[in-house]
């Protein structure tokens, strides 16, 4: 009895160690990149500097968390970026003058997300195909609503994104809050275990009496809600809507999840790691402009940084017991 308890205690300890190692890599990369930036430009090491550096990582962070939920189920979401673009169009057009209509459209979009999650589960369709198709549907809806970039974000939203809370800049507060909320819901709560189980080991979950369809639908709905949040926040930053604003979020989101310790096989994801991963990936782009890489090399160099950090992650996970 005491043996078993000790054994499970040991396992929990090792699990925690693995979690820490998962987060250590993106966190180290983040600190190194920040150190280089601050070394080049000490003035950036200020409240103002931090808020500028991390401003645009806020929406990416929520988009990455949405992607994380889908990857947790063992699926992948290629429509994430286009969906965020659609949400910026809705926000820029309706959130100011007709907030109720905007909220209704958001709910409709989230319901559609959940519906497609259910479809993927019921028909056992490959999520990569369904969401690739959906990405064009979202883009089409966005272009129909807003043929060219335009519209205006409501003042309260712009004001919120430029708000200067005490102690730390807003992007840092949001990152900490999102990481902690995700950690307690996904990694700590008993319901979180069910959610992860839906991706990692659905059979067991089914035998324990849970409806996989309900769980998956709920998770897709939550992913849609987080992507909605990302789109609304992005609208506040750019002050306008554009259906083509965020296609890069799809793959950067996947990168952030994997960087933060997630795995494509489903069941293994880390909200804290994902948030740090998103911050790291958005800083990677900044680093290049600080070290003044020639423009023709920048696109390639960004790929190399991504590759190095992700390769480090793979090496690390191979060494882990």
């Amino acid at each position: 009895m005491s043996d078993a308890a000790r054994w499970s205690g040991l396992r929990a300890g090792r699990q925690r160690l693995r979690d820490a190692a998962d987060i250590a890599l993106p966190a180290t990369a983040l600190v190194v990149m920040l150190a280089v930036i601050f070394w080049i430009r000490p003035a950036a090491m200020s409240y103002f500097g931090f808020s500028l550096l991390f401003k645009l990582s806020t929406p990416l962070m929520f988009a990455a968390l949405a992607q994380m939920l889908v990857i947790m189920l063992g699926d992948i979401d290629l429509s994430n970026g286009a969906f965020v673009g659609l949400v910026t169009c809705i926000s820029a057009l309706y959130l100011g003058p007709q907030p109720m209509l905007a909220v209704a459209l958001f709910l409709l979009a989230i319901a559609a997300y959940a519906g497609f999650g259910l479809l993927i589960h019921v028909r056992q369709l490959p999520s990569i195909i369904v969401t690739l198709g959906l990405s064009f549907v979202w883009l089409g809806c966005g272009v129909t609503l807003l043929p060219g970039p335009g519209g205006t974000a409501p003042d309260w939203l712009i004001g919120f994104m430029n708000w200067r809370p005490p102690l730390m800049p807003l992007p840092i507060w949001l990152a900490i809050l999102a990481a902690l909320a995700g950690h307690f819901v996904i990694s700590r709560s008993s319901y979180g275990a069910v959610l992860r189980g839906a991706g990692g080991n659905p059979r067991t979950l089914q035998r324990a009496g849970w409806s996989i369809a309900a769980v998956k639908t709920g998770v897709y709905a939550a992913a849609g809600a987080l992507a909605c949040l990302a789109g609304v926040l992005l609208t506040g930053l750019t002050t306008s809507g554009d259906p083509n604003v965020a296609p890069a979020y799809t793959l950067l989101g996947v990168g952030a999840v994997i960087l933060g310790g997630g795995s494509f096989s489903g069941g293994f994801v880390s909200p804290i790691g994902t948030v740090i991963g998103a911050l790291t990936l958005s800083i990677a782009g900044s680093l290049l402009s600080f070290v003044q890489v020639p423009p023709t090399w920048q696109i390639g160099a960004q790929g190399v940084i991504l590759f190095l950090v992700l390769a480090g992650r793979v090496l690390l996970s191979e060494k882990a017991p």
Binding site: R41, G285, S289
Partner: protein, 362 residues
């Protein structure tokens, strides 16, 4: 310490001081090149896309001009950053340029609106923002761009100067359906045609700024058309249009050319063979240099309007050979915009005078 970009009051004070000293030194501080000291200033170029030849020439034009300015001690340094057509990335890059403490940022925006937040941040940090060749809507940015009404006007003015105000049949070759530049240029043509009531638009095709497409489209519509007196183009389509007329055995009308090498070569060949006369105009990739000098002049204390119209590069019959020699095979005519020319362009915009034209190479 004085040009610390985060400190708006100081930067403003400095600008005030500079303009005050200038006001004493020159009787009319607003005309000509502003001579305020910008030797400690830095200018960055945020570019949305670097993946085609037009953009490559644009970046090189900026870099060569900026390097020369650094050598002449007009600025302290410059930088170019390109995002891969990702607007969020470009916004992040602008945020970084603010942090790096640039005095001015020139922007070729990937979106007319999505960079507004970042541009506003830059203005709030006391940085001069000059957007060019794109319709950035943020009010605090200076915009350097062509006026597409002038494009249409120049085309029709040339036709009128050659053929006069008598009934003429006009064929219009447009760009790519749905494109913003295409739409604005076409609207300019419609507006300007009203001033020439005798001219009759008899046909329209979409040539997609491409010789082969224009040739196919014009060849398709020609059999249904009466004799054509003039062809209005958008650039890149003149050569194809001429080929279509030749293949149909028709006499070449006035086809306005668009500064492409193939167009100029054809013009020269026809001129040498039978005295063919036309006119060529177009945008230049080196508009980045105009934005660069506009930014430098603002830093130097010159009063610059929020919209600076850039003259289109126009080529007339006598200068054809000189320009043709400067164009690489398959390329577009490019020109240098030195500081004094840009100062003249700004003055012409302020005084609402005709814009100075780019002089032909020697």
């Amino acid at each position: 310490m004085n040009d610390h970009p985060f400190n708006r009051p100081t930067a403003l004070g400095l600008a005030l001081c500079a303009s005050l000293t200038l006001g004493v030194a020159a009787s009319n501080a607003d005309d000509g090149i502003a001579k305020g000291d910008t030797s400690g200033k830095t200018i960055a170029f945020s570019n949305s896309y670097a993946g085609n030849s037009f953009r490559q020439v644009m970046i090189k034009s900026f870099e060569s001009m900026a390097a020369q300015a650094v050598k002449d001690k007009l600025i302290a340094g410059s930088a170019v950053v390109s995002s891969n057509n990702s607007v969020t990335e470009q916004a992040a890059q602008i945020q970084n340029l603010i942090l790096q403490g640039y005095s001015a940022i020139i922007v070729l925006a990937g979106s007319d609106t999505a960079l507004n937040g970042a541009i506003k941040d830059a203005c709030n940090a006391g940085i001069v923002v000059v957007a060019f060749a794109s319709g950035v809507t943020e009010k605090c940015a200076y915009v350097v761009d062509y006026n597409l009404d002038s494009y249409a006007k120049a085309e029709l003015d040339f036709v009128a100067s050659k053929l006069g105000e008598k009934p003429l049949n006009i064929l219009e070759i447009r760009g790519i359906a749905g494109d913003g530049f295409e739409r604005r240029l076409h609207e300019g043509v419609e507006k300007m045609l009203k001033q020439h009531p005798a001219y009759k638009p008899v046909g329209q095709v979409y040539g997609q700024w491409t010789a082969t497409v224009a040739q196919k489209e014009v060849a398709g519509i020609l059999p249904s058309l009466p004799s054509i007196d003039a062809v209005l183009t958008q650039g890149g389509d003149g050569y194809g249009a001429a080929q279509a007329f030749k293949a149909a055995g028709r006499k070449l009308p006035i086809i306005i050319m668009g500064n492409r090498e193939d167009e100029l070569a054809l013009w020269k060949q026809e001129r040498d063979a039978n005295g063919y006369e036309t006119f060529s105009l177009g945008a230049t990739p080196s508009v980045s240099q105009v934005a660069f000098w506009v930014a430098q002049q603002i830093l130097a204390g010159k009063t610059v309007p929020k919209f600076v119209e850039v003259p289109l590069l126009q080529i007339y019959q006598p200068d054809l050979d000189a320009w043709l020699k400067t164009v690489p095979k398959g390329g577009v005519v490019n020109a240098e915009y030195p500081q004094d020319l840009v100062a003249k362009i700004i003055d012409a915009n302020v005084d609402k005078q005709p814009l100075p034209s780019v002089s032909a190479p020697k």
